[in-house]
Subunit: 181 residues, 2 copies
């Protein structure tokens, strides 16, 4: 094994709050967690993700950051290009299904700052199919992305750090973990 | 490996709140989390731990419950005999150091319901030395306790579920995990 450290981030939310949980793994071993709160349907996800990672003791050791989608806390969208540029760490979005962009863009029309949200989504770039998953990448090649995705995954198709971040976030909001990332 | 499921619980708190995090592992693999909040220096830890486990989908599969001490959220003390009796699952308290009982009892004198707290501590029973650790047990023999402790531990001396519960709880309170259970 290569001793690569990965950060996986997932969220969970209710009407009161949305929590973001980051999990750091190294060869599948859980090394630590990060925690932040964002606004439901807000516009602060990018900034909070950057802040959470910048203050982390793991920052300089992270090979890449995995997200299970672009949106957190409803339609609070993470700008993966900005995260990558600001922190200097590549970002990979890993999704089980190909997002229905027409439906997505139409839902955004009902929110404040629809244009800002749309431009963040457009900046996220091309969606690639990698085995049964769909990915978007920032700051690395598709080949590197596939290599990191493979290295970060133990069981199933989701990076271990994202899987565990999901379990933690859903437990904080619902009292016990539920579903999967 | 034996496919034994263990629950590890740890807490973290500040002036505003104390969170209890439960982590379920099976052969070191993280399967899920539980979450509850208790009062700092309160008397609700036992009841909240019981409730958290009773409502859990993992309840019937847990081989035993590990705690890194009797006290959570300051001096909110868990009655391990009552947890074991109510839920029907053995409890093992795993400590790095032997608690200084005289100091502990004297600190409790300054709190409300000092007698209630003292009697919970006394009910927790004998402290055994197991390798470099100190343990208290409820609902199982010392021999079984040693067997489970060994099976639940991957690196170091603390059961993996407690180690991870600690990382999560401290991240929720401090923004990033710190220290160790």
């Amino acid at each position: 094994m290569k001793k690569w450290r990965f950060l996986g981030i997932d969220d969970s939310f209710n009407e009161k709050k949305c929590c973001l949980v980051g999990c750091v793994t190294c060869d599948g071993y859980v090394e630590g967690f990060m925690y932040a709160e964002i606004e439901v349907d807000g516009l602060d996800a990018t900034e909070k993700v950057i802040k959470m990672i910048k203050r982390s003791k793991f920052k300089d050791q992270l090979r890449c950051i995995f997200l299970p989608g672009l949106t957190f806390g409803g339609f609070n969208i993470v700008d993966i290009q900005r995260v990558c540029n600001d922190i200097g760490i590549p970002v990979i979005v890993v999704m089980r299904r190909k997002p229905n962009m027409a439906e997505f863009m139409s839902a955004i029309e009902n929110l404040n700052d629809a244009d800002v949200r749309k431009s963040i989504i457009e900046r996220a770039g091309k969606i690639y199919k990698v085995k049964s998953m769909y990915i978007q990448i920032a700051g690395l090649s598709l080949e590197e992305g596939e290599k990191y995705l493979k290295a970060a995954t133990i069981k199933g198709n989701m990076p271990e750090a994202v899987r565990i971040a999901h379990l933690v976030a859903s437990a904080i909001i619902h009292g016990e973990s539920r579903g999967k990332a």
